[in-house]
């Protein structure tokens, strides 16, 4: 496995899977502003996944779409945290958002210092967009501070950041890849 693959695939998988989960709030978030926010964040995360897959794909002689959708579920390297289906639990959704953005900020900062100029450049670009995700997560962390459900959710979910994805991901994978698998040989 190449260095880029090792470094970037887990991040790309996290962003794809979390983007997918966040998009599940589209149309049903507790209020309109959050409907817009979660949809927009989801769109950004999937955009980041695509750009990261692209860097790996160039090295492997494949495409971003093939990496995103043509692997088997057990080949994905996302964390347990991002694969959970949390709709309609808003407290746990915000807890995940806060935990993920904190961890992601550290990871992106490390990538910005990479010797691989393409990786460092992309990380800096991603970071510009993530600044708005962090603002949003910070705003909610403040708003829900002291709420028991939120505190419990943080405790429950924090350890999952460092755990690998589980076999439960297979169900989401089915949904994510359904369209692509339904048309043999199609290019998107």
């Amino acid at each position: 496995m190449s260095e880029r693959e090792q470094l970037l695939l887990p991040i790309a998988d996290d962003e794809l899977v979390l983007g997918w989960r966040n998009s599940e709030w589209t149309g049903i978030a507790p209020f309109l502003e959050e409907d817009v926010a979660f949809s927009s964040i989801a769109q950004n995360e999937i955009g980041h996944a695509r750009a990261l897959y692209q860097l790996v794909a160039e090295e492997l002689g494949t495409t971003a779409d093939e990496l995103a959708f043509d692997r088997s579920p057990d080949e994905y390297r996302h964390s347990h945290l991002v694969e959970l289906r949390l709709v309609p639990d808003w407290a746990r959704t915000i807890a995940r958002h806060v935990l993920y953005e904190e961890a992601d900020a550290k990871r992106i900062a490390a990538l910005k210092a990479s010797d691989d100029v393409e990786v460092a450049g992309l990380a800096a670009k991603i970071d510009r967009e993530e600044a708005y995700h962090r603002m949003h997560a910070g705003m909610w962390r403040e708003r829900l501070q002291g709420e028991p459900r939120f505190a419990e959710a943080l405790e429950e979910l924090r350890p999952l950041l460092d755990e690998p994805g589980t076999t439960e991901f297979a169900e989401l994978w089915e949904e994510m890849t359904m369209v692509r698998r339904s048309v043999a040989g199609a290019t998107w």
Binding site: E33, V36, A37, S39, S40, I41, Q43, N44, E45, I46, G47, H48, R50, A51, Q54, L55, V117, E118, G121, L122, A124, K125, I126, D127, R128, E129, A131, Y132, M135, H136, G138, M139
Partner: protein, 161 residues
């Protein structure tokens, strides 16, 4: 023989697919143009990585170069070279005229929530600075939503990135 200036002029005719009042050149996404032996290479920097208009922009640039009788090569450069500071002064005015408040200049660090909440943002309709942040996010990744308390009009504010 196509010249670089002709290519820039042709690219300046392409409207942004989502906000057609501004051209791709005014948006600052065309980083450089090189012409060599009938081939034209255009360096193109995406705005937001998840922007669905990126493919459309790329295809439109390729089509424009072909119209000039040259073979296009559009190189997508996903690095840190685009920021909202690259939108030209003319582009900013056109955005404002169309009801989009142009992005504030970027400081040395990423913008903070407190700046969005307390900073001065001018309503593109009436010019008042009595406006407040409604939502960090908006209808597309590049915009936030604000409300003008003076003319009682919600408006879209370009994010600074």
């Amino acid at each position: 023989m196509v010249t670089e200036a002709q290519v820039w002029d042709a690219l300046a005719e392409i409207a942004d697919p989502e906000i057609p009042v501004i051209s791709l050149v005014e948006l600052g996404v065309v980083r450089d143009v090189e012409v060599e032996n009938g081939r034209v290479r255009v360096g193109f920097t995406p705005t937001f990585l998840g922007c669905p208009a990126l493919e459309v922009m790329r295809d439109q640039m390729a089509a424009k170069v072909r119209e000039l009788g040259a073979e296009p090569e559009i190189e997508v450069i996903a690095d840190d070279s685009w920021s909202t500071d690259r939108i030209t002064p003319e582009g900013r005015e056109k955005l404002r005229d169309a009801g989009f408040a142009p992005p504030a200049p970027r400081g040395s660090a990423a913008p903070q929530l407190v700046q969005l909440q307390r900073g001065t943002f001018r309503c593109p309709y009436c010019g008042s600075t009595d406006t407040k942040l409604e939502n960090i996010f908006g209808p597309t990744p590049c915009r936030s939503l604000r409300y003008c308390s003076s003319c009682r009009q919600p408006f879209e504010q370009f994010k600074t990135i």
